[in-house]
Protein backbone atom coordinates (compact mmCIF):
# COMPACT_ATOMS: atom_id res chain seq x y z
CA UNK A 1 0.00 0.00 0.00
CA UNK A 2 3.00 2.31 0.32
CA UNK A 3 3.02 3.06 -3.40
CA UNK A 4 -0.63 4.06 -3.08
CA UNK A 5 0.26 6.42 -0.27
CA UNK A 6 2.93 7.97 -2.47
CA UNK A 7 0.84 8.06 -5.62
CA UNK A 8 -0.66 11.35 -6.76
CA UNK A 9 -4.08 12.13 -8.10
CA UNK A 10 -4.12 12.89 -11.82
CA UNK A 11 -3.16 16.43 -12.78
CA UNK A 12 -5.65 18.60 -14.67
CA UNK A 13 -3.75 17.88 -17.85
CA UNK A 14 -3.73 14.15 -17.24
CA UNK A 15 -7.43 14.21 -16.37
CA UNK A 16 -8.24 16.02 -19.59
CA UNK A 17 -6.30 13.42 -21.56
CA UNK A 18 -8.09 10.56 -19.80
CA UNK A 19 -11.49 12.15 -20.36
CA UNK A 20 -10.62 12.55 -24.03
CA UNK A 21 -10.58 8.76 -24.29
CA UNK A 22 -14.23 8.52 -23.23
CA UNK A 23 -16.40 9.96 -25.98
CA UNK A 24 -19.57 9.73 -23.90
CA UNK A 25 -18.21 12.19 -21.34
CA UNK A 26 -18.44 14.95 -23.96
CA UNK A 27 -22.18 14.59 -24.45
CA UNK A 28 -24.85 16.62 -22.78
CA UNK A 29 -28.07 15.52 -21.16
CA UNK A 30 -31.42 17.01 -20.07
CA UNK A 31 -31.45 19.91 -22.45
CA UNK A 32 -27.81 20.74 -22.95
CA UNK A 33 -26.32 20.17 -19.53
CA UNK A 34 -22.85 18.62 -19.53
CA UNK A 35 -22.98 15.04 -18.33
CA UNK A 36 -21.55 14.58 -14.83
CA UNK A 37 -21.38 10.82 -14.56
CA UNK A 38 -21.08 9.67 -10.94
CA UNK A 39 -22.56 6.20 -11.37
CA UNK A 40 -19.50 4.14 -12.24
CA UNK A 41 -20.29 1.78 -9.37
CA UNK A 42 -23.23 0.60 -11.48
CA UNK A 43 -21.29 0.54 -14.71
CA UNK A 44 -18.28 2.47 -15.92
CA UNK A 45 -17.79 4.05 -19.30
CA UNK A 46 -15.42 2.47 -21.77
CA UNK A 47 -12.42 4.22 -23.33
CA UNK A 48 -11.83 4.28 -27.07
CA UNK A 49 -8.97 1.78 -26.58
CA UNK A 50 -11.44 -0.85 -25.31
CA UNK A 51 -13.95 -0.17 -28.08
CA UNK A 52 -11.16 -0.25 -30.68
CA UNK A 53 -9.93 -3.59 -29.39
CA UNK A 54 -13.41 -5.09 -29.65
CA UNK A 55 -13.93 -3.62 -33.08
CA UNK A 56 -10.54 -4.85 -34.28
CA UNK A 57 -11.41 -8.35 -33.14
CA UNK A 58 -14.63 -8.34 -35.12
CA UNK A 59 -13.13 -6.64 -38.17
CA UNK A 60 -10.00 -8.71 -38.45
CA UNK A 61 -9.99 -11.90 -36.35
CA UNK A 62 -13.64 -12.79 -35.85
CA UNK A 63 -14.17 -16.53 -35.52
CA UNK A 64 -15.47 -19.02 -32.98
CA UNK A 65 -12.63 -19.72 -30.57
CA UNK A 66 -11.42 -23.24 -29.75
CA UNK A 67 -13.05 -24.53 -32.93
CA UNK A 68 -11.78 -24.98 -36.47
CA UNK A 69 -8.30 -25.06 -37.87
CA UNK A 70 -8.46 -22.14 -40.26
CA UNK A 71 -6.36 -19.05 -39.78
CA UNK A 72 -9.11 -16.87 -38.35
CA UNK A 73 -10.00 -19.56 -35.82
CA UNK A 74 -6.39 -19.68 -34.74
CA UNK A 75 -6.17 -15.92 -34.44
CA UNK A 76 -9.43 -15.63 -32.54
CA UNK A 77 -8.38 -18.37 -30.15
CA UNK A 78 -5.04 -16.68 -29.68
CA UNK A 79 -6.72 -13.32 -28.99
CA UNK A 80 -9.07 -14.91 -26.45
CA UNK A 81 -6.29 -16.78 -24.66
CA UNK A 82 -4.03 -13.73 -24.72
CA UNK A 83 -6.85 -11.79 -23.10
CA UNK A 84 -6.93 -14.43 -20.37
CA UNK A 85 -3.20 -13.94 -19.79
CA UNK A 86 -3.60 -10.18 -19.54
CA UNK A 87 -6.50 -10.43 -17.10
CA UNK A 88 -4.58 -12.99 -15.03
CA UNK A 89 -1.54 -10.72 -14.88
CA UNK A 90 -3.76 -7.82 -13.82
CA UNK A 91 -4.83 -9.68 -10.67
CA UNK A 92 -1.61 -11.57 -10.02
CA UNK A 93 -3.11 -14.91 -11.00
CA UNK A 94 -2.01 -17.92 -13.02
CA UNK A 95 -3.57 -17.86 -16.46
CA UNK A 96 -5.26 -21.25 -16.15
CA UNK A 97 -7.02 -20.06 -12.99
CA UNK A 98 -9.01 -17.39 -14.84
CA UNK A 99 -12.49 -18.39 -16.02
CA UNK A 100 -14.44 -16.05 -18.27
CA UNK A 101 -18.11 -15.76 -17.35
CA UNK A 102 -20.81 -13.47 -18.62
CA UNK A 103 -20.61 -11.32 -15.48
CA UNK A 104 -19.72 -11.48 -11.80
CA UNK A 105 -23.17 -12.81 -10.95
CA UNK A 106 -22.58 -15.84 -13.13
CA UNK A 107 -19.12 -16.27 -11.61
CA UNK A 108 -20.59 -16.40 -8.11
CA UNK A 109 -23.37 -18.74 -9.20
CA UNK A 110 -20.74 -20.98 -10.76
CA UNK A 111 -19.14 -21.43 -7.34
CA UNK A 112 -22.43 -22.04 -5.54
CA UNK A 113 -23.47 -24.63 -8.13
CA UNK A 114 -20.14 -26.43 -7.68
CA UNK A 115 -21.28 -27.16 -4.14
CA UNK A 116 -24.73 -28.43 -4.99
CA UNK A 117 -23.62 -30.28 -8.12
CA UNK A 118 -20.91 -31.99 -6.09
CA UNK A 119 -23.66 -33.88 -4.29
CA UNK A 120 -24.77 -35.64 -7.51
CA UNK A 121 -23.79 -39.30 -7.97
CA UNK A 122 -20.38 -39.61 -9.56
CA UNK A 123 -19.78 -35.86 -9.71
CA UNK A 124 -16.66 -36.04 -7.59
CA UNK A 125 -15.29 -39.35 -8.90
CA UNK A 126 -11.53 -39.23 -9.12
CA UNK A 127 -11.28 -36.24 -6.78
CA UNK A 128 -9.14 -36.76 -3.71
CA UNK A 129 -11.61 -37.38 -0.82
CA UNK A 130 -10.26 -34.60 1.39
CA UNK A 131 -10.70 -32.13 -1.46
CA UNK A 132 -14.12 -33.47 -2.41
CA UNK A 133 -15.20 -33.10 1.22
CA UNK A 134 -14.64 -29.36 1.02
CA UNK A 135 -17.51 -29.11 -1.47
CA UNK A 136 -19.84 -31.45 0.42
CA UNK A 137 -22.64 -29.40 1.87
CA UNK A 138 -25.67 -30.60 3.78
CA UNK A 139 -27.68 -30.24 6.95
CA UNK A 140 -25.53 -29.11 9.85
CA UNK A 141 -23.10 -27.33 7.55
CA UNK A 142 -23.04 -23.56 7.43
CA UNK A 143 -22.52 -20.93 4.76
CA UNK A 144 -21.38 -17.52 5.97
CA UNK A 145 -21.93 -14.26 4.13
CA UNK A 146 -22.25 -10.67 5.37
CA UNK A 147 -25.13 -8.30 5.81
CA UNK A 148 -23.56 -5.83 3.35
CA UNK A 149 -23.58 -8.11 0.32
CA UNK A 150 -24.87 -7.14 -3.07
CA UNK A 151 -27.75 -9.44 -4.03
CA UNK A 152 -25.35 -11.16 -6.45
CA UNK A 153 -23.35 -12.50 -3.51
CA UNK A 154 -26.40 -13.12 -1.37
CA UNK A 155 -29.19 -14.78 -3.35
CA UNK A 156 -26.94 -17.52 -4.82
CA UNK A 157 -25.92 -18.51 -1.26
CA UNK A 158 -29.51 -18.39 0.01
CA UNK A 159 -30.46 -20.66 -2.85
CA UNK A 160 -27.51 -22.96 -2.22
CA UNK A 161 -28.56 -23.26 1.42
CA UNK A 162 -32.10 -24.09 0.32
CA UNK A 163 -30.93 -26.73 -2.16
CA UNK A 164 -28.54 -28.44 0.22
CA UNK A 165 -30.15 -28.02 3.65
CA UNK A 166 -27.14 -26.07 4.88
CA UNK A 167 -27.71 -23.06 7.14
CA UNK A 168 -27.00 -19.52 6.00
CA UNK A 169 -25.40 -17.25 8.57
CA UNK A 170 -23.98 -13.77 8.26
CA UNK A 171 -21.58 -11.28 9.75
CA UNK A 172 -23.43 -8.14 10.86
CA UNK A 173 -22.76 -4.52 10.02
CA UNK A 174 -22.04 -1.78 12.56
CA UNK A 175 -23.85 1.56 12.63
CA UNK A 176 -20.89 3.24 10.96
CA UNK A 177 -20.96 0.78 8.09
CA UNK A 178 -18.19 -1.67 8.90
CA UNK A 179 -18.37 -5.42 9.33
CA UNK A 180 -18.91 -6.38 12.95
CA UNK A 181 -15.85 -8.56 13.43
CA UNK A 182 -16.68 -9.01 17.10
CA UNK A 183 -18.94 -11.82 15.84
CA UNK A 184 -16.27 -13.48 13.75
CA UNK A 185 -15.50 -16.38 16.08
CA UNK A 186 -19.12 -17.14 16.78
CA UNK A 187 -20.33 -16.84 13.19
CA UNK A 188 -17.45 -18.65 11.47
CA UNK A 189 -17.14 -21.99 13.25
CA UNK A 190 -16.16 -25.60 12.64
CA UNK A 191 -19.53 -26.01 10.91
CA UNK A 192 -18.67 -23.33 8.32
CA UNK A 193 -17.84 -24.74 4.88
CA UNK A 194 -17.63 -21.50 2.93
CA UNK A 195 -17.35 -17.79 3.66
CA UNK A 196 -18.40 -15.40 0.89
CA UNK A 197 -17.99 -11.66 1.33
CA UNK A 198 -17.46 -8.46 -0.52
CA UNK A 199 -14.07 -6.81 -0.76
CA UNK A 200 -15.62 -3.33 -1.01
CA UNK A 201 -19.25 -2.49 -0.26
CA UNK A 202 -21.01 -1.21 -3.37
CA UNK A 203 -23.13 1.05 -1.17
CA UNK A 204 -20.99 2.14 1.76
CA UNK A 205 -17.60 2.09 0.07
CA UNK A 206 -16.21 0.20 3.06
CA UNK A 207 -13.04 -1.74 2.31
CA UNK A 208 -13.35 -4.93 4.32
CA UNK A 209 -10.49 -6.51 6.26
CA UNK A 210 -9.95 -9.52 4.01
CA UNK A 211 -7.01 -10.93 5.97
CA UNK A 212 -8.91 -11.15 9.27
CA UNK A 213 -11.80 -13.00 7.67
CA UNK A 214 -9.57 -15.28 5.60
CA UNK A 215 -7.50 -16.16 8.68
CA UNK A 216 -10.61 -17.18 10.60
CA UNK A 217 -12.05 -19.10 7.64
CA UNK A 218 -8.78 -20.97 7.15
CA UNK A 219 -8.60 -21.81 10.82
CA UNK A 220 -11.87 -23.69 10.53
CA UNK A 221 -11.12 -25.14 7.09
CA UNK A 222 -13.73 -23.11 5.20
CA UNK A 223 -13.35 -21.97 1.62
CA UNK A 224 -13.41 -18.22 0.93
CA UNK A 225 -15.12 -16.40 -1.94
CA UNK A 226 -14.48 -12.69 -2.50
CA UNK A 227 -16.79 -10.41 -4.47
CA UNK A 228 -14.22 -8.04 -5.96
CA UNK A 229 -16.56 -6.11 -8.28
CA UNK A 230 -15.95 -2.86 -6.44
CA UNK A 231 -12.25 -3.37 -5.74
CA UNK A 232 -10.62 -4.61 -8.94
CA UNK A 233 -11.62 -1.46 -10.90
CA UNK A 234 -10.33 0.87 -8.20
CA UNK A 235 -7.27 -0.58 -6.48
CA UNK A 236 -4.42 -2.96 -7.18
CA UNK A 237 -5.71 -6.44 -6.40
CA UNK A 238 -3.44 -9.44 -6.06
CA UNK A 239 -5.17 -12.75 -5.51
CA UNK A 240 -2.11 -14.30 -3.89
CA UNK A 241 -1.78 -11.46 -1.37
CA UNK A 242 -5.49 -11.62 -0.55
CA UNK A 243 -5.29 -15.31 0.27
CA UNK A 244 -8.86 -16.09 -0.75
CA UNK A 245 -9.86 -19.24 -2.64
CA UNK A 246 -12.17 -17.64 -5.22
CA UNK A 247 -12.62 -14.11 -6.48
CA UNK A 248 -15.23 -12.72 -8.84
CA UNK A 249 -15.53 -9.44 -10.72
CA UNK A 250 -17.22 -7.98 -13.74
CA UNK A 251 -15.69 -6.35 -16.81
CA UNK A 252 -18.18 -3.55 -17.28
CA UNK A 253 -17.42 -1.86 -13.97
CA UNK A 254 -13.70 -1.62 -14.79
CA UNK A 255 -13.85 0.25 -18.10
CA UNK A 256 -14.41 -3.02 -19.97
CA UNK A 257 -17.33 -4.26 -22.04
CA UNK A 258 -20.63 -5.59 -20.75
CA UNK A 259 -21.12 -9.32 -21.11
CA UNK A 260 -17.85 -10.51 -19.63
CA UNK A 261 -16.91 -11.28 -16.06
CA UNK A 262 -14.23 -13.29 -14.34
CA UNK A 263 -14.06 -16.05 -11.82
CA UNK A 264 -10.62 -16.65 -10.43
CA UNK A 265 -10.10 -19.78 -8.34
CA UNK A 266 -7.18 -21.79 -6.99
CA UNK A 267 -6.42 -24.37 -9.62
CA UNK A 268 -6.71 -27.43 -7.39
CA UNK A 269 -10.17 -26.27 -6.36
CA UNK A 270 -11.31 -25.51 -9.89
CA UNK A 271 -9.96 -28.90 -10.94
CA UNK A 272 -12.05 -30.62 -8.27
CA UNK A 273 -15.25 -28.81 -9.17
CA UNK A 274 -18.00 -30.30 -11.31
CA UNK A 275 -19.18 -28.15 -14.22
CA UNK A 276 -21.92 -25.52 -13.95
CA UNK A 277 -23.16 -24.83 -17.49
CA UNK A 278 -22.57 -27.72 -19.87
CA UNK A 279 -22.40 -28.16 -23.63
CA UNK A 280 -19.80 -27.58 -26.31
CA UNK A 281 -16.22 -26.52 -25.55
CA UNK A 282 -16.23 -27.79 -21.98
CA UNK A 283 -15.93 -31.48 -22.86
CA UNK A 284 -13.09 -33.98 -23.07
CA UNK A 285 -14.75 -37.10 -24.54
CA UNK A 286 -18.43 -37.33 -25.38
CA UNK A 287 -20.29 -40.63 -25.73
CA UNK A 288 -24.01 -41.26 -25.74
CA UNK A 289 -23.65 -43.11 -22.42
CA UNK A 290 -21.83 -40.28 -20.71
CA UNK A 291 -19.03 -37.79 -21.09
CA UNK A 292 -15.90 -36.50 -19.46
CA UNK A 293 -14.95 -32.88 -19.12
CA UNK A 294 -12.07 -30.60 -19.98
CA UNK A 295 -9.69 -29.25 -17.40
CA UNK A 296 -10.27 -25.75 -16.02
CA UNK A 297 -10.75 -23.11 -17.22
CA UNK A 298 -12.45 -24.63 -20.31
CA UNK A 299 -14.60 -26.87 -18.10
CA UNK A 300 -16.48 -23.76 -17.01
CA UNK A 301 -16.74 -22.07 -20.40
CA UNK A 302 -19.48 -23.95 -22.23
CA UNK A 303 -20.50 -22.68 -25.64
CA UNK A 304 -18.86 -20.14 -27.91
CA UNK A 305 -17.35 -17.66 -25.46
CA UNK A 306 -17.53 -13.84 -25.48
CA UNK A 307 -14.16 -13.52 -27.20
CA UNK A 308 -14.56 -9.92 -28.36
CA UNK A 309 -15.62 -8.86 -24.89
CA UNK A 310 -12.70 -10.73 -23.30
CA UNK A 311 -10.38 -8.92 -25.70
CA UNK A 312 -12.04 -5.64 -24.71
CA UNK A 313 -11.60 -6.50 -21.04
CA UNK A 314 -7.90 -7.16 -21.61
CA UNK A 315 -7.66 -3.73 -23.25
CA UNK A 316 -9.32 -2.26 -20.16
CA UNK A 317 -6.71 -3.99 -17.96
CA UNK A 318 -3.97 -2.53 -20.17
CA UNK A 319 -5.59 0.89 -19.96
CA UNK A 320 -5.78 0.80 -16.17
CA UNK A 321 -2.23 -0.58 -15.95
CA UNK A 322 -1.00 2.30 -18.10
CA UNK A 323 -2.78 4.80 -15.83
CA UNK A 324 -1.24 2.98 -12.87
CA UNK A 325 -3.59 1.44 -10.34
CA UNK A 326 -1.93 3.27 -7.40
CA UNK A 327 -2.68 6.54 -9.15
CA UNK A 328 -6.24 5.50 -9.95
CA UNK A 329 -6.71 4.73 -6.26
CA UNK A 330 -5.10 8.01 -5.20
CA UNK A 331 -7.20 10.00 -7.66
CA UNK A 332 -10.49 8.43 -6.62
CA UNK A 333 -9.48 8.80 -2.97
CA UNK A 334 -9.00 12.54 -3.48
CA UNK A 335 -12.45 12.76 -5.07
CA UNK A 336 -13.96 10.78 -2.21
CA UNK A 337 -12.34 13.04 0.38
CA UNK A 338 -13.61 16.12 -1.47
CA UNK A 339 -17.14 14.75 -1.60
CA UNK A 340 -17.12 13.67 2.05
CA UNK A 341 -15.86 17.12 3.06
CA UNK A 342 -18.54 18.83 0.97
CA UNK A 343 -21.29 16.65 2.38
CA UNK A 344 -20.04 17.24 5.92
CA UNK A 345 -20.64 20.97 5.41
CA UNK A 346 -24.32 20.26 4.76
CA UNK A 347 -25.98 19.32 8.04
CA UNK A 348 -29.10 18.18 6.18
CA UNK A 349 -27.14 15.41 4.48
CA UNK A 350 -26.12 12.22 6.24
CA UNK A 351 -23.47 9.92 4.80
CA UNK A 352 -24.38 6.24 5.14
CA UNK A 353 -21.13 4.39 5.75
CA UNK A 354 -17.69 5.50 6.87
CA UNK A 355 -17.59 9.30 7.10
CA UNK A 356 -13.85 9.58 6.65
CA UNK A 357 -11.56 8.34 3.92
CA UNK A 358 -9.94 5.56 5.94
CA UNK A 359 -10.35 2.04 4.48
CA UNK A 360 -12.92 3.39 2.15
CA UNK A 361 -13.41 3.43 -1.57
CA UNK A 362 -15.18 5.84 -3.89
CA UNK A 363 -18.79 4.79 -3.43
CA UNK A 364 -20.50 7.35 -1.24
CA UNK A 365 -24.11 6.78 -0.21
CA UNK A 366 -26.09 9.46 1.56
CA UNK A 367 -29.56 10.52 2.55
CA UNK A 368 -31.10 13.99 2.67
CA UNK A 369 -33.31 14.60 5.68
CA UNK A 370 -36.95 14.26 4.78
CA UNK A 371 -36.40 13.80 1.06
CA UNK A 372 -36.69 10.47 -0.69
CA UNK A 373 -33.55 9.43 -2.63
CA UNK A 374 -35.58 9.16 -5.85
CA UNK A 375 -36.43 12.83 -5.50
CA UNK A 376 -32.82 13.72 -4.70
CA UNK A 377 -31.64 11.79 -7.75
CA UNK A 378 -34.23 13.52 -9.92
CA UNK A 379 -33.01 16.99 -8.93
CA UNK A 380 -29.40 15.93 -9.57
CA UNK A 381 -30.39 14.44 -12.92
CA UNK A 382 -32.05 17.71 -13.86
CA UNK A 383 -28.61 19.31 -13.47
CA UNK A 384 -26.99 16.60 -15.60
CA UNK A 385 -25.56 14.77 -12.59
CA UNK A 386 -26.05 10.99 -12.88
CA UNK A 387 -26.11 9.11 -9.59
CA UNK A 388 -27.76 5.90 -8.48
CA UNK A 389 -30.80 5.90 -6.23
CA UNK A 390 -32.52 2.98 -4.56
CA UNK A 391 -31.19 0.07 -2.55
CA UNK A 392 -28.38 -0.64 -5.03
CA UNK A 393 -29.12 -4.37 -4.95
CA UNK A 394 -28.26 -4.42 -1.25
CA UNK A 395 -31.70 -4.44 0.32
CA UNK A 396 -30.78 -6.20 3.61
CA UNK A 397 -27.98 -3.69 4.14
CA UNK A 398 -30.42 -0.81 3.74
CA UNK A 399 -32.84 -2.51 6.10
CA UNK A 400 -29.98 -2.87 8.61
CA UNK A 401 -29.31 0.87 8.32
CA UNK A 402 -33.07 1.53 8.82
CA UNK A 403 -33.39 2.90 5.30
CA UNK A 404 -35.39 1.92 2.24
CA UNK A 405 -33.06 3.64 -0.17
CA UNK A 406 -30.06 5.93 -0.52
CA UNK A 407 -28.50 8.20 -3.12
CA UNK A 408 -25.07 6.99 -4.20
CA UNK A 409 -22.30 8.77 -6.03
CA UNK A 410 -19.45 6.57 -7.24
CA UNK A 411 -16.23 7.43 -8.97
CA UNK A 412 -13.91 6.19 -11.68
CA UNK A 413 -10.55 7.38 -12.93
CA UNK A 414 -12.16 9.84 -15.37
CA UNK A 415 -14.02 11.87 -12.74
CA UNK A 416 -12.81 15.26 -11.54
CA UNK A 417 -13.07 17.52 -8.51
CA UNK A 418 -15.14 19.89 -10.69
CA UNK A 419 -17.69 17.10 -11.00
CA UNK A 420 -17.79 16.68 -7.22
CA UNK A 421 -18.50 20.41 -7.02
CA UNK A 422 -21.22 20.07 -9.66
CA UNK A 423 -22.85 17.37 -7.55
CA UNK A 424 -22.71 19.51 -4.41
CA UNK A 425 -24.12 22.55 -6.22
CA UNK A 426 -26.96 20.50 -7.66
CA UNK A 427 -27.58 18.96 -4.25
CA UNK A 428 -28.09 22.42 -2.76
CA UNK A 429 -31.20 22.76 -4.93
CA UNK A 430 -32.86 19.81 -3.17
CA UNK A 431 -33.93 21.64 0.02
CA UNK A 432 -34.97 24.62 -2.12
CA UNK A 433 -37.24 22.59 -4.38
CA UNK A 434 -38.79 20.63 -1.56
CA UNK A 435 -39.10 23.56 0.80
CA UNK A 436 -37.12 21.98 3.60
CA UNK A 437 -34.61 24.82 3.91
CA UNK A 438 -33.39 25.33 7.45
Amino acid sequence: MSDVALARAFTAQESAAIRGDFAILARSVRGGKPLVYLDSGATSHKPRQVLDAERAFYEWHNSAVHRGAHQLAEEATDAFESARETVARFIGAKTREVVFTKNATEALNLVTYAFSNAAAAGAMDGVEPALAARFALGEGDEIVITEMEHHANLIPWQELARRTGATLRWIGVTDDGRLDLGDLETVITDRTKVVAFTHVSNVLGTINPVAAIVDRARAVGALTVLDACQSVPHMAVDVVDLGVDFLAFSGHKMLGPMGVGVLWGRYELLAAMPPFLTGGSMIEVVRMEGSTYADPPQRFEAGVPMAAQAVGLAAACDYLTALGMPRVTAHEHALTEALLAGLAQRPWVRVVGPVDGKDRSGAVAFVVDGIHPHDVGQILDDAGVAVRVGHHCAWPLHRRMNLTATTRASFAAYNTVAEVEALLTALDRVPVVFGTEV
Binding site: H372, P373, H374, D375, Q378, G390, H391, T404, V433, F434
Partner: protein, 171 residues
Protein backbone atom coordinates in the same frame (compact mmCIF):
# COMPACT_ATOMS: atom_id res chain seq x y z
CA UNK B 1 -38.07 21.13 -14.50
CA UNK B 2 -41.79 20.49 -14.80
CA UNK B 3 -41.85 17.35 -12.69
CA UNK B 4 -42.26 18.79 -9.22
CA UNK B 5 -45.44 20.84 -9.55
CA UNK B 6 -46.40 22.74 -6.40
CA UNK B 7 -49.49 20.60 -6.12
CA UNK B 8 -47.36 17.43 -6.02
CA UNK B 9 -45.13 18.85 -3.31
CA UNK B 10 -48.21 19.86 -1.30
CA UNK B 11 -49.72 16.38 -1.53
CA UNK B 12 -46.34 14.82 -0.67
CA UNK B 13 -45.96 16.97 2.43
CA UNK B 14 -49.51 16.53 3.64
CA UNK B 15 -50.94 13.41 2.03
CA UNK B 16 -54.73 13.19 2.10
CA UNK B 17 -56.60 10.29 3.72
CA UNK B 18 -53.32 8.81 5.03
CA UNK B 19 -53.28 6.04 7.60
CA UNK B 20 -54.91 2.63 7.75
CA UNK B 21 -58.55 2.54 8.82
CA UNK B 22 -61.23 -0.01 9.63
CA UNK B 23 -63.44 -1.41 8.31
CA UNK B 24 -62.14 -2.67 4.99
CA UNK B 25 -63.10 -5.32 2.43
CA UNK B 26 -59.61 -5.93 1.15
CA UNK B 27 -56.03 -5.04 1.98
CA UNK B 28 -53.05 -5.26 -0.36
CA UNK B 29 -49.35 -4.63 -0.01
CA UNK B 30 -47.41 -3.47 -3.05
CA UNK B 31 -43.68 -2.94 -3.35
CA UNK B 32 -41.55 -1.27 -5.96
CA UNK B 33 -38.56 -3.63 -5.98
CA UNK B 34 -36.34 -1.05 -7.66
CA UNK B 35 -36.31 1.33 -4.74
CA UNK B 36 -38.01 -0.55 -1.94
CA UNK B 37 -41.00 1.79 -1.79
CA UNK B 38 -44.05 0.17 -0.22
CA UNK B 39 -47.72 0.84 0.14
CA UNK B 40 -50.28 -1.01 2.23
CA UNK B 41 -53.73 -0.09 1.03
CA UNK B 42 -57.25 -0.90 2.22
CA UNK B 43 -60.47 -0.48 0.32
CA UNK B 44 -63.94 -0.38 1.79
CA UNK B 45 -66.87 -0.69 -0.61
CA UNK B 46 -70.52 0.01 -0.18
CA UNK B 47 -72.71 -1.89 -2.61
CA UNK B 48 -72.02 -4.59 -5.16
CA UNK B 49 -70.04 -4.91 -8.39
CA UNK B 50 -68.91 -1.97 -10.47
CA UNK B 51 -71.70 0.24 -9.20
CA UNK B 52 -70.45 -0.12 -5.63
CA UNK B 53 -69.21 3.09 -4.06
CA UNK B 54 -65.71 3.38 -2.65
CA UNK B 55 -66.60 4.27 0.92
CA UNK B 56 -63.01 4.53 2.06
CA UNK B 57 -59.49 4.08 0.79
CA UNK B 58 -56.86 4.13 3.50
CA UNK B 59 -53.15 3.50 3.25
CA UNK B 60 -49.75 3.45 4.84
CA UNK B 61 -46.97 4.31 2.39
CA UNK B 62 -43.22 4.70 2.36
CA UNK B 63 -42.08 6.36 -0.82
CA UNK B 64 -40.80 9.28 -2.80
CA UNK B 65 -42.74 12.50 -3.28
CA UNK B 66 -44.17 11.28 -6.59
CA UNK B 67 -45.55 8.02 -5.20
CA UNK B 68 -46.76 9.62 -1.97
CA UNK B 69 -48.49 12.48 -3.77
CA UNK B 70 -49.96 10.18 -6.39
CA UNK B 71 -51.51 7.93 -3.76
CA UNK B 72 -52.87 11.01 -2.01
CA UNK B 73 -54.47 12.25 -5.25
CA UNK B 74 -55.80 8.74 -5.85
CA UNK B 75 -57.79 8.87 -2.62
CA UNK B 76 -59.21 12.31 -3.49
CA UNK B 77 -60.26 11.09 -6.90
CA UNK B 78 -61.91 7.79 -5.96
CA UNK B 79 -63.36 8.04 -2.45
CA UNK B 80 -67.09 8.63 -2.74
CA UNK B 81 -67.19 7.58 -6.38
CA UNK B 82 -68.44 4.35 -7.89
CA UNK B 83 -66.01 1.61 -8.87
CA UNK B 84 -66.99 2.28 -12.48
CA UNK B 85 -66.03 5.95 -12.19
CA UNK B 86 -62.86 5.19 -10.24
CA UNK B 87 -61.69 2.72 -12.86
CA UNK B 88 -62.29 5.19 -15.63
CA UNK B 89 -60.23 7.76 -13.70
CA UNK B 90 -57.52 5.13 -13.29
CA UNK B 91 -57.53 4.47 -17.02
CA UNK B 92 -57.22 8.19 -17.75
CA UNK B 93 -54.38 8.62 -15.26
CA UNK B 94 -52.56 5.61 -16.62
CA UNK B 95 -53.03 6.77 -20.19
CA UNK B 96 -51.50 10.12 -19.29
CA UNK B 97 -48.62 8.64 -17.29
CA UNK B 98 -47.62 6.27 -20.08
CA UNK B 99 -48.00 8.77 -22.91
CA UNK B 100 -44.36 9.94 -22.85
CA UNK B 101 -45.55 13.53 -22.68
CA UNK B 102 -48.21 13.30 -25.41
CA UNK B 103 -51.24 13.33 -23.07
CA UNK B 104 -51.36 16.22 -20.60
CA UNK B 105 -54.45 14.88 -18.84
CA UNK B 106 -57.96 16.31 -18.45
CA UNK B 107 -58.60 18.02 -15.14
CA UNK B 108 -62.32 17.24 -15.33
CA UNK B 109 -61.46 13.58 -15.61
CA UNK B 110 -58.56 13.19 -13.18
CA UNK B 111 -58.54 16.33 -11.00
CA UNK B 112 -55.16 16.99 -9.35
CA UNK B 113 -53.91 14.01 -11.34
CA UNK B 114 -53.02 16.45 -14.15
CA UNK B 115 -50.12 17.67 -12.02
CA UNK B 116 -48.42 14.35 -12.82
CA UNK B 117 -48.36 14.93 -16.58
CA UNK B 118 -44.65 15.78 -16.34
CA UNK B 119 -43.92 12.35 -14.85
CA UNK B 120 -44.65 10.70 -18.19
CA UNK B 121 -41.45 12.19 -19.59
CA UNK B 122 -39.42 10.32 -16.98
CA UNK B 123 -39.97 6.59 -17.63
CA UNK B 124 -38.15 5.62 -14.44
CA UNK B 125 -40.69 7.59 -12.38
CA UNK B 126 -43.88 6.31 -13.99
CA UNK B 127 -43.86 3.32 -11.71
CA UNK B 128 -43.59 5.63 -8.69
CA UNK B 129 -46.74 7.45 -9.77
CA UNK B 130 -48.55 4.20 -10.52
CA UNK B 131 -47.66 2.35 -7.31
CA UNK B 132 -50.79 3.43 -5.38
CA UNK B 133 -53.09 3.22 -8.40
CA UNK B 134 -52.02 -0.30 -9.27
CA UNK B 135 -52.38 -1.31 -5.62
CA UNK B 136 -55.89 0.18 -5.70
CA UNK B 137 -56.97 -1.91 -8.71
CA UNK B 138 -55.48 -4.98 -7.05
CA UNK B 139 -57.44 -4.20 -3.88
CA UNK B 140 -60.63 -3.98 -5.95
CA UNK B 141 -59.87 -7.39 -7.43
CA UNK B 142 -59.24 -8.78 -3.95
CA UNK B 143 -62.58 -7.31 -2.92
CA UNK B 144 -64.23 -9.35 -5.65
CA UNK B 145 -64.59 -6.72 -8.37
CA UNK B 146 -63.97 -7.86 -11.93
CA UNK B 147 -61.66 -5.25 -13.46
CA UNK B 148 -60.75 -7.26 -16.56
CA UNK B 149 -62.70 -4.88 -18.82
CA UNK B 150 -60.45 -2.08 -17.57
CA UNK B 151 -57.35 -3.99 -18.56
CA UNK B 152 -58.81 -4.67 -22.00
CA UNK B 153 -59.51 -0.99 -22.64
CA UNK B 154 -55.90 -0.14 -22.03
CA UNK B 155 -54.11 -3.21 -23.24
CA UNK B 156 -52.48 -1.11 -25.94
CA UNK B 157 -50.93 1.23 -23.39
CA UNK B 158 -49.73 -0.48 -20.29
CA UNK B 159 -50.76 -3.37 -18.12
CA UNK B 160 -50.77 -3.72 -14.40
CA UNK B 161 -47.47 -5.57 -14.53
CA UNK B 162 -45.71 -2.29 -15.32
CA UNK B 163 -44.33 -2.29 -11.83
CA UNK B 164 -42.53 -5.56 -12.26
CA UNK B 165 -41.56 -5.09 -15.89
CA UNK B 166 -39.97 -1.78 -15.08
CA UNK B 167 -37.57 -3.23 -12.58
CA UNK B 168 -34.89 -4.56 -14.85
CA UNK B 169 -32.34 -2.15 -13.43
CA UNK B 170 -32.84 -3.88 -10.13
CA UNK B 171 -30.01 -6.34 -10.46
Amino acid sequence: MDLYQEIILEHAKRPHHAGLRDPFNAQVHHVNPTCGDEVTLRVQLSGEGRSAVIADLSYDAVGCSISTASTSVLTDEVIGYSVEQALSTFVAVRRMLTSKGADSGDEDEIGDGVAFAGVSKYPARVKCALLGWVAFTDALTQAGIDISATSAITSNTISSNTISSNTMENS
